[in-house]
């Protein structure tokens, strides 16, 4: 087995123990990090980098990153959370950030999926269809 493969498999094992009921658990992850610090494996830095990548991917899959132009009410965020939790069948947390480049509307990203209902996105689509 190549070194990269070994590191990747080790990091995947770490991620596995960081999950609780299939969900990423911050407490478990902290415990994993403590254990690693006490007994650092070979290629410690590479393992940590790989683990970070996997954790980021896992967190992104359970987070709806909402970008919006203008105001967005708390009830709207709650609705988004409920909708995506039902859609993906797992608890989804919501983070919101303002992005005026969207002109109006909002864009939500969950893992690799992007849901765009902004005016900027629509204009981009229009541009593509006319070119």
């Amino acid at each position: 087995m190549t070194r990269d493969k070994q590191i990747s498999n080790y990091a995947k094992g770490l991620l596995k123990v960081s999950l609780e009921d299939g969900q990423f658990s911050e407490e478990r992850a902290a415990a994993v990090l403590q254990a690693l610090e006490k007994n650092p494996p070979r290629n410690y830095a590479s393992v940590l980098k790989e683990y970070l990548k996997l954790v980021q991917r896992e967190v992104a899959n359970s987070t709806a990153a909402v970008e919006h132009a203008g105001e967005l009410s708390a009830s709207a965020l709650e609705a988004i959370k409920a909708k995506f939790t039902a859609h993906y069948g797992r608890p989804i947390t919501v983070t919101a950030s303002q992005n005026d480049d969207l002109i109006a509307g909002l864009r939500v990203r969950v893992g690799c999926d992007v849901y765009d209902s902004s005016v900027a996105g629509a204009l981009k689509e229009l541009e593509a269809s006319l070119s």
Binding site: R109, C112, D116, S117, V119, A122, S131
Partner: protein, 510 residues
């Protein structure tokens, strides 16, 4: 103008409260035209991936954590961290009659400066070949216009006939001759008003060729007025390996459109050796395991799935066909190299061109012994069978005897007669490039050799005699040629007329 306004209004109406869902990823690394992308969880194999600036790639390696995407075209503006987006579409190219007369790249985009392509249809580049039930055996001829081929190695519509030989032996010339001949037959057939006439449309795929060669081919086709029935798909040597890999599939997609719409198409892959090399380069960059000669394990499948798409389909499926003329370049005449043996085993025969024959001035330099057509004889017209049935055997015997006769001066009369006849057949089959001969003229010329009309003509004058008899027939016996073409067999009446014509011509030539 109003239609554009309506289109924009329609698009704006569509914008109301629509949410566009997409699946995205980020470029992790990019090198040698291949991007490793993190994300793209919904990606399909062979799906088109969109990068910033409208650059397109195809997802070829779906790995556990990453997707290997081969970029089509320019990739220098892309960098790590750039977004990549699934399009949900498999790679497809424009198809239809609007492409005839045009030169396009591997993605079907025009490169001839003649404006946009008039085509509303797209066809997937990768498609499963027609199955057994849809197929029909080859039974219609596809005349190349080259006497040596049409008489000895006939090709039928739906056949895959490999053209193989060293560099500079006239492989492309044979393919171009065939395209020109199809255009000539189309002209005559369409002008005749015969409703049962089926024109053949040609697709010439240039893979890894020099641009100057492609320009020359284009010039030849234009000069012969054959371009209007031809589509040229180019992925020249300067193009990326991905484009060179894709070009034959794009070409066959265009050809398949004709077949599925009940028409006949001819596709030339020039050449598949360079195609295999481009695929090897791509595979190595994608870090796929390499095998013999560093080609990946699926290099056989690369060509088999391409050539299997050439077929003759039955009446229930439109009765169309795709005939393929793949070209393979050998090194020092080595037919047993990896790629040549692969392609030989997939095709329905091969035309082998020999450097020695070419250098002796025998052009086309077809090696009779090593060339074969496995299914074409079923499609050969009866008239050709009648006049050329024994020629291949006679020529093969001549080659054997000629080699043997070099060492001895005393030959028996039978051997000498065979040598004389063989030498005349060799001369008769000499044909200049880009000058295909209609099948009826071929029959008329070959009838002469079958009936010993050339036996008393000096070997050095055979070419002149063949030209003279063709001129005699076209200028003074047009009706006889038309009869041969229409009847497609030599009956007693035609036999008598041919005899009369030869008797009339012979004294004038002497």
């Amino acid at each position: 103008m109003s239609s554009v306004i309506e289109q924009i209004e329609q698009q704006i109406a569509n914008l109301q409260a629509t949410t566009v869902q997409s699946n995205v990823g980020k470029i992790v690394t990019i090198a040698d035209g291949v991007a490793k992308v993190d994300g793209l969880s919904e990606v399909m194999y062979n799906e088109m991936i969109e990068f910033p600036g409208g650059t397109i790639g195809i997802a070829l390696n779906l790995e556990e954590d990453e997707v290997g995407v081969v970029i089509l075209g320019e990739s220098t503006h892309l960098k790590a961290g750039d977004e990549a987006k699934c399009t949900g579409k498999l790679l497809s190219v424009p198809v239809g009659k609007g492409l005839l007369g045009r030169v396009v790249d591997a993605l079907g985009r025009p490169v001839d400066g003649k404006g946009p392509i008039e085509s509303n249809e797209a066809y997937p580049v990768e498609k499963i070949a027609p199955g057994i039930i849809e197929r029909k055996s080859v039974d219609q001829p596809l005349a190349t216009g080259i006497m040596a081929i049409d008489s000895m190695i006939p090709i039928g519509r739906g056949q895959r006939e490999l053209i193989i030989g060293d560099r500079g032996t006239g492989k492309t010339t044979i393919a171009i001759d065939t395209i020109i001949n199809q255009a000539k037959i189309n002209e005559v057939g369409l002008a005749s008003g015969d409703e049962s006439f089926r024109p053949v449309y040609s697709i010439y795929v240039a893979v890894g060729q020099k641009n100057s060669n492609i320009a020359r081919t284009l010039g030849v086709l234009e000069e012969a007025d054959a371009l209007k029935y031809t589509i040229i798909v180019t992925a020249p040597a300067a193009d990326s390996a991905a484009n060179q890999y894709l070009a034959p599939y794009s070409g066959v997609a265009m050809a398949e459109w004709f077949m599925t719409n009940g028409m006949d198409a001819l596709i030339v892959y020039d050449d598949l050796s360079k195609h295999a090399a481009a695929y090897r380069q791509m595979s190595l960059v994608l870090k796929r395991p390499s095998g013999r000669e560093a080609y990946p394990g699926d290099v056989f499948y690369l060509h088999s799935r391409l050539l299997e798409r050439s077929a003759r389909v039955n009446e229930e499926n439109g009765n169309g066909s795709v005939t393929a003329l793949p070209i393979i370049e050998t090194l020092a005449g080595d037919l047993s190299a990896y790629i040549p043996t692969n392609v030989i085993s997939i095709t329905d025969g091969q035309i082998f061109l020999e450097t020695d024959l070419f250098n002796q001035g025998i052009r086309p330099a077809v090696s009779v012994g090593l060339s074969v057509s496995r299914v074409g004889s079923a499609a050969q017209i009866k008239a050709t069978k009648q006049v050329a049935g024994k020629i291949k055997l006679e020529l093969a015997q001549f080659r054997e005897l000629a080699a043997f006769a070099q060492f001895g001066s005393d030959l028996d009369a039978k051997t000498k007669a065979q040598l004389d006849r063989g030498a005349r057949i060799v001369e008769l089959f000499k044909q200049p490039a880009f000058n295909p001969i209609p099948i009826e003229e071929q029959v008329a010329v070959l009838w002469g050799i079958q009936n010993n009309y050339y036996d008393d003509i000096e070997v050095s004058l055979i070419v002149a005699a063949a030209n003279a008899i063709r001129e005699f027939f076209t200028s003074r016996k047009e009706a006889l040629l038309v009869s041969i073409r229409e009847k497609a067999k030599i009956d007693d009446e035609l036999q008598a007329e041919l005899k009369k014509a030869y008797d009339e011509w012979k004294p004038s030539f002497a």
